[in-house]
Amino acid sequence: MTKWAFPDPNNGTLVDVTEIDPAKIFVAEYAAQFVEVPDDTNNGDVRNSKGKIEKKEFVAPPEVVQEKVLTEADFLSSLTRDERKGIKAARASNEDLDDFMTMLEKRTLVNMSDADNQADVKAFVTAKLISQASADKILP
């Protein structure tokens, strides 16, 4: 089987790939610009300056990583009752905790895929405000 295609003079992209002699389909001036191409050539492949056919590349998009965003209710319900009581009591003496909880209350959401927020939660574990088990429920 013989195949022909028209190479775009701008960049060599091949279009109008056909198994029929282009002189039988198109006007003569256009058909004269067709070149023979290998059987596996498809529209969109590129004929480079040396006449070699480069297959059109389809690059798979990267895997989408879903961000873990918790509402204030989701965040608090991941904690035990004692942890919630402890956080309430500790806010007055722990500026970082108070800032975190204030932002949570004002924005009503927290993005736990954010590295700074993850560091805050890990610090709360170190300070024994919440358990590692609770942190595991919160962190992605």
Binding site: F6, D8, P9, N10, N11, T13, V15, D16, T18, I20, K24, I25, F26, V27, E29, Y30, N43, G44, K56, E57, F58, V59, P61, P62, R107, T108, L109
Partner: protein, 399 residues
């Protein structure tokens, strides 16, 4: 009453047994998807009545591909029209060009050929990131008025009635921050009286409407706006402002027998999406008949998007009716506070709408150019594809 067809569709669609308007023909046939087809008129064909043949090239696609390119819309395919004396037993070849899906390439060439006739063909529109000139001139032209531009329309060659040029894609710009997408150009109207129209010209952070067979796409008024697609009876409009509280899209242009799509609206307040009304598609119908071609679609409405802190609200743009352009889409802001929306596709022969950064352009209808996109994250993503070419014939059989 003539037979009605939906826009786009099958490989070979025959019609007849009536007439959309009085005239010398009583049959018609359409080829509308990429490939090579053969047609023999048959024993009952009336050789004394020349067949009217319309050939449209395929549309170019928008000039964005995963962050590469320029965001222009694609050009519409060209048109060639002939009246040809055909033989009952001769087999004719119909080639339908493939709509472009490559941001720097071109739509395929469509053609009608066979023994004893002069081949007529129409080249495809250029994709938005291609500035190669097609060969040939529109009837009455001595040179190419679009020469050197991105997203040029294709042009007809060999037509003994008329040869026409497709409309250019509208301006767009590639930027992950302030990118914008131009609308797709339209193919020439079936009347062959003039060339196709240009897609809308985009401002930063915006998406514009596609062109219709009778009107150009409307450019966006300023940043963070969208425009509706052009209709067959009038241009679309652009929205004029957007804030962190509200956004609305431009209106689609009116159709000859259908409404333009209304623009969408999105409102937020204090992290809550209060009201979102989606854009509507253009109305209208198409008649492809032995003695009539009528495309009456309205343009698609423009999309909208806004955000309020962590809350994002938005809607997609609407699609164009037959012969009309799709609406443009915008997403508001850069990547961090962006809603991801879709531009509308064009109806048959119409251009697709353009999209803001991260908002893919709409596809062109048959022979229409695809919409551009201001920025896209992944390869092979972001542009609206061009529509496949189209061949339509009107002829007479003995009854």
């Amino acid at each position: 009453m003539g037979r009605r067809f939906p826009s786009g569709g099958g490989q070979s669609t025959g019609g007849g047994g009536g007439a959309g308007a009085s005239g010398k023909y009583n049959q018609c046939k359409m080829w509308s998807s990429n490939g090579t087809y053969y047609w023999q008129p048959g024993a009952d064909f009336d050789e004394s009545v020349p067949v009217r043949v319309y050939v449209w090239g395929a549309g170019g696609c928008g000039g964005m591909d995963g962050g590469s390119g320029n965001g222009y819309g694609g050009g519409g395919g060209g048109l060639a029209i002939s009246e040809l004396t055909l033989g009952k037993t001769t087999t004719y070849t119909i080639n339908i060009g493939l709509g472009s899906a490559s941001y720097a390439s071109t739509g395929g060439t469509s053609a009608f050929s066979g023994s004893g006739i002069t081949t007529l063909q129409a080249s495809g529109g250029r994709s938005g990131n291609s500035n190669s000139d097609p060969s040939g001139n529109s009837t009455g032209e001595s040179s190419n008025p679009q020469s050197g531009q991105y997203g040029q329309g294709g042009v007809g060659t060999g037509g003994n009635i008329v040869n026409r040029r497709g409309g250019r894609g509208g301006f767009g710009n590639n930027s992950s921050g302030s990118g914008c997408g131009g609308g797709g150009g339209s193919a020439p109207a079936p009347s062959g009286q003039r060339d196709g129209h240009q897609g809308g010209y985009a401002s930063s952070y915006s998406g514009t409407g596609g062109a219709s067979i009778h009107f150009p796409g409307t450019g966006t008024y300023t940043s963070y706006t969208s425009s509706g697609g052009a209709g067959t009876a009038g241009q679309g409009t652009s929205s004029v402002s957007t804030s962190t509280y509200y956004s609305y899209g431009g209106q689609g242009g009116a159709g000859l027998d259908g409404h333009g799509g209304h623009g969408s609206s999105s409102n937020t307040y204090s992290n809550t999406s209060l009201a979102t009304t989606r854009a509507s598609d253009g109305g209208g119908s198409a008649i492809w008949a032995p003695n009539m071609i009528f495309l009456g679609g309205g343009g698609g409405g423009g999309g909208s998007a806004t955000y309020q802190s962590s809350e994002k609200a938005g809607t997609n743009a609407g699609c164009g009716g037959p012969g009309a352009g799709g609406g443009g889409a915008h997403g508001y802001g850069g990547s961090g506070n962006h809603a991801y929306m879709l531009a509308g596709s064009g109806g048959i022969l119409g251009g697709g709408g353009g999209g803001d950064a991260y908002c893919p352009g709409g596809a062109g209808g048959n022979a229409g150019g695809g919409g551009g996109c201001g920025y896209a994250m992944y390869p092979s993503y972001g542009h609206g594809n061009g529509g496949d070419g189209l061949v339509f014939i009107q002829y007479k059989i003995l009854v």
